[in-house]
């Protein structure tokens, strides 16, 4: 009897894990099935390195350079803001805060992760963008700068919580040895603990990168949506994700424009896939040590 129920439980969990793999494979399959035919009509070189995105024009052009630039601009902007904030709170929670503070601070930071991205978008559109426009005397507040701030705040919980885990996993002996050798608290954080948690921290940053590059709603609402290579951080940009979201609804299913959006999706998928893969590898290296 016990044997049967155990086997049943095994089968259920097995099916559950199999299911996610099947879904993942189905997504990859459909991405490539719809997206690859695009490259029969437009060369990869033109797609990656030409800057003109006029998919619905009489003579359509599918140059994604500006869209790729848009994605990279807001993502690196987000990292510039999210990494110091996330890492800072991780160090504080793990190394400096007392136990009671720690119990409050960690859940609060993680609470940020639970806010739906459309709420972040609304906040950015209705509150932050007008503020940025007035403060910097700009023509428009919907730009790379505003989008980077919002995205940066969004990835703080990812970076903070994973880096904090990595810091707490640093063996007590390293901390104690460093202090015993006469290092101050700051010295032992920067010279001993951070280097020991390096791989976990890098992993958290890569995961934050993957989250920011794939975020759609916020950039759709806040980045402004100009298909141009931003000349400054106060120019509008159009990341790949918002292009897909905004244009998919009106395309004729199966035509070149439709396929071009899938080609963009393949590009995005590869970006996030490899950043996640590197994260996994970095972590595997740590756990096997």
């Amino acid at each position: 009897m016990k044997n049967t129920s155990e086997k049943l439980f095994q089968a259920i969990t097995y099916t559950a894990s199999l299911f996610t793999i099947i879904v993942l494979l189905a997504i990859i399959y459909s991405l490539f099935k719809e997206g690859l035919p695009f490259f029969r009509a437009v060369s990869l070189k033109e797609f990656l390195f030409s800057g003109a995105w006029y998919p619905t024009h009489e003579n359509p052009e599918f140059g994604a350079k500006t869209l790729i630039a848009g994605s990279l601009f807001v993502t690196f902007g987000a990292l510039l803001i999210g990494v110091p904030l996330g890492l800072g709170s991780a160090i504080y929670i793990s190394e400096i805060a007392g136990n009671r503070m720690k119990e409050v601070a960690k859940p609060v930071v993680e609470l940020l992760a639970g806010i739906p991205s459309v709420v972040y978008g609304l906040f950015g559109m209705a509150f932050l963008a007008p503020l940025v426009r007035q403060y910097f005397h700009l023509d428009t507040g919907l730009n790379v700068f505003t989008a980077s701030i919002i995205l940066g705040v969004m990835i703080v919980p990812i970076i903070a919580s994973m880096s904090e885990d990595a810091l707490s996993n640093v063996p007590k002996s390293i901390r104690e040895a460093s202090l015993a050798l006469g290092a101050t608290k700051i010295e032992s954080i920067f010279r001993a603990i951070l280097p020991a948690a390096k791989s976990g921290i890098i992993g958290s940053i890569l995961l934050g990168f993957g989250r920011a590059v794939g975020e759609t709603m916020v950039v759709l609402m806040v980045a402004g949506g100009s298909a141009q290579i931003p000349k400054s951080i106060f120019a509008s940009a159009r990341p790949m994700t918002s292009t897909i979201a905004a244009e998919m609804g009106e395309t004729v299913i199966g035509d070149l424009h439709y396929q071009s959006l899938f080609a963009l999706a393949i590009l995005l998928f590869l970006l996030t896939f490899f950043s996640n893969l590197i994260t996994e590898l970095v972590f595997l290296k740590r756990s096997s040590r």
Binding site: Y54, P55, T140, M221, G225, A227, Q228, A235, R238, G249
Partner: protein, 272 residues
Amino acid sequence: MKNILKTLVLLLVLSLVTVSVFAKGNRITCSGSTTVLPVAQATAEAFMDKNPGINISVRGGGSGVGVAALQNKTADIANSSRPMKAKEISASKSKGINPTAYVVANDGISIVVHKSNMIKNLTISQIRGIYTGKIKNWKELGGASMPIVVISRDVSSGTFEVFNEKALSGAKVDGTAQLLASNNAVVSAVSSTPGGIGYAGLGYVNDEVRVVNVNDVMPNESTVKSGTYPLSRKLYMYTNGKASGEVARYISFIQSAEGQKIVEAQGFISLN
């Protein structure tokens, strides 16, 4: 172990199949253009009030989504803010679908600017100059010295297509233009951008922005109906073949005097 697995997978597949079998009855689904959405929603509610047995579900998604839903037979009505494209018609025909158009409302695309902007009128060629990036400052048009912030809709929206055809004659919008995802987003962006210019369906314009005349014609009921306003269009509902049964009753309700009152209440222009 293997047998249990097989049964589980079978059960899963069975449950998925049975769910999709139940459906239909006196149900009408329509899907498509977000511009037509408010018209479809309001008329559907009124129609359902008068005919309690009927259930109409209305979805947005965009004109292209509506056409695809009609082709896949997941919708009875495809809402569209533009005439169906030749490519879409031929794709439908190859799937055995015969799209039939019904005009349900008139709409004008208003050009809107910030309230503080003194510009009262723009010609079509000035609008083209602004959107293609040749005119960059309001002072070139007789306004205050202020850079123009060009705000446009996504290149694949029905509203953009009509604007692109009627105002830009197919010219490319300059890359610096902001492309926003909805009529509402355009209006709210213009209202908070002193140098901004945008366009939106008549039904979406509010007091936060100022509407400018185009070629000295103001967008209003009579100029849109008569077609003297240059940026006017018709909104459509497409059915597979001639509409019949409840679908036909619903569409003729929209086209009736009572339905057209609802159309006007939504900020669009009635048919006659």
